[in-house]
Subunit: 296 residues, 5 copies
Amino acid sequence: MLLNKRISIFDFLKTIKFDLIFIGSYSILVGYMDQYGFLSKISIPIAITGVFGTAVALLLGFRTNQAYERWWEARIIWGAIVNDSRTLVRQCVSFFARGQGGYQKMVKEMTDRQVIWCYALGESLRKLPFSTRVKVYSESYGIKAFNIPNALLSQHSETLLKAKEIGMVNDFQQVQIDSTIARLCDSMGKCERIKNTVFPKAHSLLIHLIIYVFATMLPFGLDDKNIAVEIAITFIIPVIFIAIEKTSILMQDPFENDPLDTPMTDLAETIEINIKQMIGKTDVPVKKEPTDYYIL
Amino acid sequence: MLLNKRISIFDFLKTIKFDLIFIGSYSILVGYMDQYGFLSKISIPIAITGVFGTAVALLLGFRTNQAYERWWEARIIWGAIVNDSRTLVRQCVSFFARGQGGYQKMVKEMTDRQVIWCYALGESLRKLPFSTRVKVYSESYGIKAFNIPNALLSQHSETLLKAKEIGMVNDFQQVQIDSTIARLCDSMGKCERIKNTVFPKAHSLLIHLIIYVFATMLPFGLDDKNIAVEIAITFIIPVIFIAIEKTSILMQDPFENDPLDTPMTDLAETIEINIKQMIGKTDVPVKKEPTDYYIL
Amino acid sequence: MLLNKRISIFDFLKTIKFDLIFIGSYSILVGYMDQYGFLSKISIPIAITGVFGTAVALLLGFRTNQAYERWWEARIIWGAIVNDSRTLVRQCVSFFARGQGGYQKMVKEMTDRQVIWCYALGESLRKLPFSTRVKVYSESYGIKAFNIPNALLSQHSETLLKAKEIGMVNDFQQVQIDSTIARLCDSMGKCERIKNTVFPKAHSLLIHLIIYVFATMLPFGLDDKNIAVEIAITFIIPVIFIAIEKTSILMQDPFENDPLDTPMTDLAETIEINIKQMIGKTDVPVKKEPTDYYIL
Amino acid sequence: MLLNKRISIFDFLKTIKFDLIFIGSYSILVGYMDQYGFLSKISIPIAITGVFGTAVALLLGFRTNQAYERWWEARIIWGAIVNDSRTLVRQCVSFFARGQGGYQKMVKEMTDRQVIWCYALGESLRKLPFSTRVKVYSESYGIKAFNIPNALLSQHSETLLKAKEIGMVNDFQQVQIDSTIARLCDSMGKCERIKNTVFPKAHSLLIHLIIYVFATMLPFGLDDKNIAVEIAITFIIPVIFIAIEKTSILMQDPFENDPLDTPMTDLAETIEINIKQMIGKTDVPVKKEPTDYYIL
Amino acid sequence: MLLNKRISIFDFLKTIKFDLIFIGSYSILVGYMDQYGFLSKISIPIAITGVFGTAVALLLGFRTNQAYERWWEARIIWGAIVNDSRTLVRQCVSFFARGQGGYQKMVKEMTDRQVIWCYALGESLRKLPFSTRVKVYSESYGIKAFNIPNALLSQHSETLLKAKEIGMVNDFQQVQIDSTIARLCDSMGKCERIKNTVFPKAHSLLIHLIIYVFATMLPFGLDDKNIAVEIAITFIIPVIFIAIEKTSILMQDPFENDPLDTPMTDLAETIEINIKQMIGKTDVPVKKEPTDYYIL
């Protein structure tokens, strides 16, 4: 996730450097050809270029909007994970019967597993190898399923069942905590949906294509009096459109390893701190001051 | 569903080949007529063509947006099916009383039926004949209803009732699992709604019509100096509009057998693997590496 | 509801015939006047007409979108009615205690009333006189309320209460079924809301007005060289705008008796077939193949 | 709420009469000045006016959309109030134990209070003095809170508590009815939110301002050949923009006393009729045929 | 939050004074250069400026919309906090058993803590130091967690547990009240999500950039006849775009200390008055008449 700091404009320009070079070369080439070469006889009425530009702008607006929606939805889902993690631990703390011996152990077991679940979900969404912490945990519990986070939720239910069998929660409370686990399961599935559904490729291709068609038409609509102005316009306008498109591409996949990503590691840390403090622990991790212009 | 691979642009062009041929012929014809024939006297102010083009772009934006919404909603519904399938099995595993003899059998029964339900729903939405697996299952259980998936949900409730009668679940747990079944029933109905509600035909027709009206107006607004440019513009701009329209048409019906479809078979397989591993089975299907640029 | 068949374009044109005649006459009249008469001195810069046309297009886009939303919401509500009808019957079937004598009778009573409720709701939304079936039912049960569907839901609760009094359902199940009835009550109220809230009249009027203002301005922006082209443009563009507006008007009221209506009768039949099969009945109605291009 | 009747266009024009007079005078003045006076030397390229007009149209579109959303949300909330009022009474009727003496009285108490609540909420949202009926009720029950509707909901809970204490409802039913009261509480809070959150003033001002800037620029882009046409255009286009803006302003505050208001009094009457008939009362109010083109 | 009063336009202009000065200087400079200097040879076709302006308008529309959504969502969340605070207290009042001694004390404890929670949440969202009242409360209860509002919710659960242990609420009621606390926890998390997710920086930068690119292109598209008009246009149009952008920037972060903020302090006061009156207290704070044009 981007932080509210001054980001380097060069970092951004680097992501579109091939487009910059290509459009730059093209605009200079066409600029000279249009002035001196055989292209000087071709002209396209500027009104047509205008209509086309409006269509490009509209489609970019649509694209930007959909990408934003995906990015924002990802953030909403992880917000819900934060809330439900807290609710889960709060319910365990206040529902489990305290008189009995295993109270501390059982609440700790749920809390620890919930922390691991958050990290495991983030890592599996990013298709990263699991961190040592998650690996150690899942090996020590003999979890072998393909979907580790889902297996962890099953273990939550197992613990809950054990709690019920020894009379630590009643029927009613079991069902209430189960609802919280079901919501966590929902959030997990929603993340997987966004991860696994690529933005319609045909749309992406078409929009990329028409920006280049527009860039190609543009110089022929300009009058040929001033070559510097012509090259500047032929360069700047398409580059801005490409930049807008690029921003959308970065936003539309909110679970990759890039600066516009959902800050899952950071959120998992926040959850860890919050819920460990809720069960009275003091050995919570300390958040480091971010050194970069974004956090993951 | 499209995969994040390079798709062949020719596959896409094939879907609009008739429009390509028609607009191509038209643009060449009008290009020559406008140059040499009696059409050379007709001219339409380019600003009018511009306004009209803006209207076309706006309506295409509306169309694209609605098609995208339908496609995305379909994906959300199947995401909910994934989640609720997992939740259903997790609830069965942890709610059913283990002491009794039938525990394993009953959990397996629910899991197997849920797997069949997913495949049956996908196949009935695609209006395909049921696969052998679904047919064998529904015949062995004597299901004769028109709506097989709905009948399977009724059987879920029957099993649940049996479980309650032999004391395997209590009132409270029965109702909680019933809520999960009710959500599956909702998802099923939502799929049927999208499948059975055609996108307003009048809108589709109007948008198709005005693209062609625009294509007809376009050449008369261009000046007649360079026939090659005129033909190129008369060809490319309408083709791009048609391509955008076609993409929407492919997306607006997310339960057909085309590349932009919801990957229901693939999702059903994921569900099968996930929920079979949740009840400790190891004979889960192995997902094949997709060989095409899309999965169903 | 429209079916996915070829609809007759003439059916659609008939709905806007007065506009067609009016705009046709106007465009011919102005075309001649502008050529030969005193109007030839008036000219409006085409760019102004352009801006105005863009505003018209934007407002039509807004209009189309809102109308589509209303139409789609109506469809979502009836989808929920389908789901909740199935859930209601499934719950009755599996919650009511079977040992007792009245089981069959009570389940049938709920199912029959639910079928009647669907037809009654559809008919009262369309402000049609109730069909014989509904009339016979409500007379035989002595229902005299102004709002028949609401009274039917009250009777559902009465039956449920009776079931509880004779020990056929427990407290828990009563409340669960009551939630389903509450959702049906919600859907009913949502339909009434859409039916009773007219689309803001001032908006409709303004949009209609500005299309005509645009149609009036249009010919004065065209050059006067070719009268046939002028008349054609003055005719076609406003007609397309009117057609888009008309489609919105048809869609914005989804509970009238027109082709773009929500197919409530058809959905009620589907519900009847589904839920009668759920209680093991075989005398379900057979759906007729639709003979028209739409179903109600 | 507007009814689906022919409304007088003059009623609408009256609401923007100051803008009409101002813009009318301005357009005549500028028309003459531009023709004969010192302004004749000023000209603004019509394309700039065009861009600006497009921006105005886009912002008006945004404005209209947000206003519509607020208006529609208000309608949805009151629709939910209708539904939950019916559900509340249906639950009281079927949950309260009938054997006991106080059944009739208690159901009537809840129903009467719910009716009063609807009127009181409507009146407090409109910032009107409470009607005699509400005043008499709240005085007879000694309610002194600032927020009368909220106090009425507290009394609902009190009655419910009493019902539980005398064994008229069980724990389960108390909680279920409490959920319905909580939903009514939500709807009340949502109405207050819309009422108390003014549409961002800066936006309103900016949009109003740029319409006038546009109106000021407009005549200088027109050629000066025909003064009547110039005055007409300078008058009509801004007036239409102002009219669209005015409609939005009327819609954005859906709880005032104007024709585009949410018809809270009418809805409260509908609720009264519905829920009184549900408890078997026959002295329901008769709805008067509306005499005006709108209802409140 | 802005009040529905006349706000000083100067307050608003002050927030964009640097842009005003910069654009003002630029437009005067370019105006003179274009008239007399070497820039007079550069001209950009106004249609290109037009297309670009349309793109700017569209992106501003997108920006405005997203900012509005964030602002409105913040308002919805706080509306939910108002509702759930009332519901929480209403449930405590009517669920807690009255016979026992601690009734008054326990209800008061919940109510007081809920009031503190609202103030604490508002203050921590604004990153303000906690007010004396909150500080005194949290010190007297020994709360040391980093997240004070979350710790207060944990204490709610503790009180509830105590209530259950002494038989003041039953299982059922405990779970129902716990659901209300879970909703408050959700609202808290949603606020944190909006607070911690900065609006995509790349978008903000791009939009700011293209407004300035547009401002730079603008004068070269104007004809050079009248320098005053040129300077006026070069100044006014970009300033309006900047003003629209600024309004969005103010709205997109709804938990800062600015006039377009969510009025959290005011809402917390409303909650305090409402819920204290619900438990029969009369020492409620009196709302002061706001003296400024906005409230916090």
